[in-house]
């Protein structure tokens, strides 16, 4: 009755928060525990991990996501800097467009990419070329990954750059450094912990990409079948292989998360003075 009365408010509230936390942890932890348990129970785990199917998917995932991340860094870094130094409506509109892939269902992203880059897509019609298209190629895998993963990097990088006081860049220039040298020597190093955090997040997203890849690139072994797609296929034929692939992805994701957390801590300890 006096659950929210002033005297007992805090004690009860803390009890509520601790219970929700426990339920939360169990809910997240249980499937992961179950997956690992099932994997360890499988006689074939090691064999499955080193099977041709798994290694092919792993190699493809690793190569495509690495290329995707490289492309994202090359293109999104200057854009992120541009956004960090601009204000106004144009900037807000650009930001909305950049964020869109985060909220867009990946399947929709895949369909949209087909419409743009597919055999009968906008681009091929525009250039009158219906012979060749990037859809259902390894390049399509990369494009799909870039599409869904880029916002995570761009946002972090933009935040990182925005934390660097403009005054430091001004001073660097009065000390004889050009704007581009200033970017390399001052802005980028100071923003780097935040940027690296975004990089890890973005890479994790590229690695786990599924929906857009399936729609736009298909599911061809050795060509477009990345780890998440290989899990889907394996679920239908070889359940133990699916478990092995899942555990591999779980390990990869956890490693990324740990790196991310460590970088985040480092970024907190770097004090940027205004």
């Amino acid at each position: 009755m006096n659950f929210f009365s002033k005297e007992t408010n805090k004690g009860n509230w803390m009890r509520v928060t601790s219970w929700t936390t426990i339920v939360y942890m169990v809910f997240i932890g249980l499937p992961i525990f179950a997956l690992v348990l099932r994997g360890l129970g499988s006689q074939q785990l090691i064999n499955n991990i080193f099977s041709d199917l798994t290694l092919q998917a792993l190699r493809l995932s690793f190569i495509t996501s690495s290329i995707s991340i490289l492309a994202i860094v090359l293109f999104a870094t200057p854009t992120a800097y541009y956004l960090s130094r601009k204000a106004g409506n144009l900037k807000r509109m650009i930001e909305i467009l950049i964020d869109l892939p985060i909220v867009l269902p990946p399947v929709v992203a895949g369909v949209a990419m087909l419409m743009a880059f597919g055999r009968n897509g906008l681009l091929s019609n525009l250039f009158g070329n219906t012979e060749y298209s990037v859809s259902f190629t390894t390049l399509a895998v990369i494009l799909a990954q870039i599409f869904v993963a880029a916002p995570f990097y761009t946002k972090s990088a933009s935040n990182g750059f925005a934390q660097v006081p403009r005054e430091l860049e001004d001073i660097s220039q009065t000390l004889g450094m050009t704007p581009i040298k200033t970017f390399w020597k001052i802005t980028l190093p100071i923003a780097s912990p935040t940027i690296l955090g975004g990089l890890a997040l973005s890479w994790a997203r590229a690695l786990s990409e599924f929906g857009a890849t399936l729609m736009f690139a298909g599911n061809f072994i050795g060509k477009t079948q990345t780890m998440p797609l290989a899990i889907l296929s394996a679920m239908e034929t070889d359940f133990d292989a699916a478990i092995a692939l899942s555990i591999l992805l779980l390990i990869a994701s956890t490693v990324i998360l740990v790196i991310l957390t460590m970088l985040g801590q480092r970024s907190n300890s770097v004090e940027v003075r205004e």
Binding site: I171, I190, E274
Partner: protein
């Protein structure tokens, strides 16, 4: 080589108009309140802000000219700029900060130049430290060393002492002044601190709302200001509205009146009899007496009784506010020892005594 120029810069509704001509080895002070356009002037000279109109010359080289469409970017202007709070690079240690601007020179040049500056600014023991681990005074010296390392043709300092505590401020001022003068380059230093302007400056410009309102030697311009604006900026505690009763140019005085009974002697200035003038006097120029002094035994000409309204503690002593019978309010400063010795209480009668020359007529 002089540094000279003029600018007109409009940012939103704010219009900055300023001009300067500073000789080598001279420290010119840009004095004013916050939002006056002091920092903007420095940024404009540095090339961080581009004015609409103007001509800026540094070391005999025009770096900006609106008519000839010259606008040299900041990294080619050869200026040393030290912003408020110093703007040290947090990703570099003290030494790396200092050598930042010369990092593309030869190793031996960097080594010699940096070590000379570290030596001169007494940073030897902290040179390898991170910026976080430096004290306020050390940061200030690292920032100055960094600005001097590139051998600039002009130095721009924005409130260089504002972040230091009072004791450090005073000792640092003398050291820094010596270093600045030995560099033999024009220095433009921004401050809102009158003590700083007086101890560091060879010349002062007073700026308000983006416009230059007075210029001259610091002592003349700031201690006996000409205008109410400057009096307010320099913290003149008392600005009295007096009626000009009689002009006595031969004696160099004006007889001025307040209310029905108060008569004051003010230094002569050409004003109209019968008009009201604003007259400033600093709280530190007022002497208090608990008994009426003998007028014939005193050189000070202004002696007026009043009642103590308030006594407030200040950073250095006490501020006593007294009110005369006619309602004239006067703020006077007094030390703790004096206060105790005179045993002043609120409601007591005190005589305020001040010299004619302590008063100055302000332009309205």
């Amino acid at each position: 080589m002089n540094a000279s120029g003029w600018v007109e810069s409009k940012i939103g509704d704010f219009l900055l108009t300023n001009s300067w001509d500073i000789k080598s080895g001279e420290i010119s002070i840009l004095f004013g309140g916050s939002g006056a356009g002091k920092s903007l002037t420095l940024k404009t000279i540095a090339g961080i802000n581009t004015p609409q109109k103007g001509h800026i010359e540094i070391g005999g080289v025009p770096v900006f000219d609106s008519k000839r469409e010259i606008n040299i970017p900041p990294h080619k202007r050869k200026i040393g700029y030290m912003p408020q709070d110093y703007g040290l690079f947090p990703n570099l240690n003290a030494r790396k900060n200092i050598e930042y601007g010369i990092s593309e020179e030869s190793q031996s040049y960097i080594y010699d130049k940096t070590n000379t500056l570290i030596d001169r600014l007494q940073l030897t023991s902290v040179a390898e430290r991170n910026i976080d681990a430096l004290s306020g005074g050390e940061r200030q010296r690292v920032a100055l060393a960094r600005a001097l390392a590139t051998s600039p043709k002009m130095l721009l300092l924005d409130e260089p002492f504002a972040a230091l505590d009072l004791d450090l401020k005073r000792s640092a001022r003398q050291e820094i002044r010596a270093i600045l003068i030995s560099e033999n380059i024009p220095v433009l230093l921004v401050t809102h601190d009158i003590e700083e302007a007086l101890t560091l400056g060879d010349h002062v410009q007073v700026i308000q709302d983006g416009a230059l309102i007075d210029a001259g030697t610091p002592v003349a311009t700031l201690t006996q200001p000409n205008s109410i604006e400057i009096a307010q900026l320099t913290g003149v505690e008392n600005i009295l509205e007096l009626e000009v009763a009689e002009l006595l140019p031969k004696e160099g005085i004006i007889i001025a009146r307040f209310g029905n009974t108060l008569i004051l002697e003010v230094p002569y200035k050409k004003v109209e009899a019968g008009t009201t003038v604003s007259v400033g006097i600093k709280a530190s120029d007022i002497i208090f007496a608990t008994k009426k002094p003998q007028t014939s035994a005193l050189s000070a000409r202004n002696i007026l009784p009043g009642t103590v309204k308030t006594i407030e503690k200040t950073a250095v002593g006490y501020e006593v506010l007294i009110e005369s019978k006619d309602g004239l309010l006067l703020n006077g400063h007094i030390t703790r020892r004096s206060l105790e010795q005179l045993n002043v209480q609120v409601g007591d009668t005190l005589w305020s005594i001040f010299k004619t020359s302590a008063l100055f007529i302000l332009d309205n």
